[in-house]
């Protein structure tokens, strides 16, 4: 039982940072960007390319993935989403799914479909009573916590961060007060891209590196973000923990082949019962 909780938390560490990024992107770009899966895939393969074929140290590769993520999110926003910003959110949603196809299959075209791994040995766990956890899983959790706290500080302690929140909260008013949306957009896409690139590294580390990796993470990530309430950093973290635990615990009740449905189930229930999420603010009714 204790092990199930640990597993849930490790899964949560994997999906929390991208959930934060999804949530922020949703706030600033104002549509659910399904391309997060594609961005994560780009991140993990950037890291792989540097770590294995180029034989660079793992931390350099992780840094490179972070950069690659930032650049790809920024570029795709510049050439695709920004020119379309007046379109309906649903149109953008469809476009983001198309973009996922393009990104994942471009990666596949370059690297081939085989599974890959980083140049890091697999570890045996540290055993504490009934619980097994590996050193690197602890690092994974640590990194996720660091990212959450860092993002929170960024959003509350810096001027640009506060402006990002203002824009996510009320874009028209932000514009009226002189906040230039273009600039905030650039900062937000770069930062979220960096988070997604880094998430790719964690995912490639925990799972198997292959082009469809990002797609398999998309639903839990979105579930966590919606669960936590769009725009809330700690909400996304809490959402990730709950989604992680729900998926792990579900296998005690349901056949494990239904696990994928759990994420969707959470999203549906929540949207129906409490659309603003657990820590989100309710929307103003006109």
């Amino acid at each position: 039982m204790a092990q199930v909780i640990v597993n849930g938390i490790v899964s949560a560490a994997l999906i929390a940072p991208p959930a934060v990024a999804f949530s922020m992107l949703f706030g600033i770009l104002r549509f659910p960007n399904f391309a997060i899966g594609g961005y994560i895939t780009v991140g993990v393969f950037a890291a792989y390319a540097m770590n294995v074929p180029l034989a660079l140290p793992f931390w350099v590769a992780a840094l490179g993935a972070t950069l690659a993520g930032a650049v790809i999110v920024w570029i795709s926003d510049q050439i695709i989403f920004r020119p379309m910003r007046t379109s309906a959110p649903v149109t953008l949603l469809v476009v983001s799914i198309a973009l996922t196809f393009v990104l994942e299959h471009s990666v596949r075209l370059i690297f081939g479909p085989d599974v890959k791994g980083f140049n890091l040995p697999l570890e045996r766990p540290i055993t504490l009573g009934q619980i097994h956890i590996t050193r690197s899983q602890i690092h994974l959790i640590g990194t996720a916590l660091f990212i959450i706290v860092f993002t929170h500080l960024l959003l509350t302690r810096t001027r640009t961060g506060r402006a990002m929140r203002a824009m996510a909260d009320n874009p028209e008013l932000a514009e009226v007060r002189g906040i230039r949306s273009t600039l905030i957009r650039v900062v937000a896409t770069l930062y979220c891209g960096a988070l997604l690139g880094l998430s790719g590294v964690s995912a490639g580390f925990d799972l198997a590196i292959e082009p469809l990796l990002g797609w398999s993470l998309t639903i839990p990530i979105i579930a966590a973000a919606i669960l936590g309430g769009i725009g809330s950093v700690y909400g996304a973290m809490l959402g990730a923990v709950l989604v992680g635990l729900a998926e792990e615990f579900s296998t005690l009740i349901l056949p494990s082949s239904y696990k994928i449905a759990v994420g969707f189930g959470i999203i549906a229930m929540l949207l129906l019962l409490r659309p603003q999420g657990l820590l989100g603010q309710p929307e103003i009714k006109k």
């Binding site: 001027r159 402006a163 002189g178 103003i284």
Partner: protein, 238 residues
């Protein structure tokens, strides 16, 4: 230059098909209060939004302090010392009161400290609420935040869309008192108001809009005294 802070010349604008306002000509003097009244759908709010740059102007010119701002984005218009307070969604609900005020001084962050002191002077109630999320405030407190944030711009022209909407009668009194105080400090105000009589009482100039055009413009006292206006728009009988 003239004494006008705002001059609108032959302005047309609207959403989608068709114009909502057409050929609007209004000029607002420095440190004056202008109130626009008129029936629902007359285009009052649209006109204010057009001045703020929120709604795109289709024809005509809008001059702020002699500069042509027509066609500029809202964030560029705001750089000409114009502060617009929408009727709804006029605060950042998830930000604290202080953060809201900070957004008001976004363009000139270095003047934040001096301005914030003046705004808190004007709305002493906000002192105790500095770190409270604006979304958790009462209606009257929110209106103070919205107003305060606009003043943080240190505007030459303040555009108010229904500032008294949803406030209790006591609060409405206070709001108009504050508006007069603001005018004393040299800021011109143009507002749209349903509370026409009260608004006109504090105003210098009144304009009546109807069907997208300015039907009548004159001194506020003139409008208050006009029988036709009173019957049609003020809901009073003389």
């Amino acid at each position: 230059m003239s004494n006008a802070i705002l001059r609108a010349e032959g302005v047309y604008s609207g959403y989608g098909r068709g114009d909502i306002i057409s050929d609007v000509n209004i000029s607002v003097d420095r440190a004056s209060i202008t109130t626009i009244i008129g029936p629902n759908g007359a285009g009052k709010s649209t006109f204010i939004k057009t001045v703020a740059g929120v709604v795109r102007r289709r024809a005509g010119r809008i001059l702020i302090d002699g500069y042509d701002v027509s066609g500029m984005s809202p964030s560029d218009v705001s750089r000409h010392a114009v502060a617009y307070v929408p009727q709804e969604r006029n605060i950042f609900r998830s930000l604290t009161v202080m953060e809201n005020l900070e957004m008001g001084a976004w363009i000139e962050p270095r003047k934040f400290d001096s301005r914030v002191a003046r705004v808190l002077d004007l709305f002493p109630a906000l002192n105790a609420l500095k770190v409270v999320r604006a979304g958790n405030l009462s209606g009257g407190q929110r209106q103070m935040v919205a107003f305060g944030m606009a003043l943080m711009v240190e505007p030459k022209l303040l555009l108010l869309d229904e500032p008294s909407a949803g406030l209790s009668p006591v609060m409405v009194e206070q709001m108009f008192a504050v508006i007069q105080q603001v005018r004393e400090s040299g800021i011109a105000i143009m507002m749209v108001e349903q509370n026409a009589i009260q608004a006109l009482r504090v105003s210098d100039v009144g304009a009546v809009m109807s069907a997208g055009r300015v039907a009548m413009i004159g001194s506020a006292s003139e409008l208050l005294g006009d029988r036709e206006v009173a019957e049609l728009y003020l809901g009073t009988r003389t």
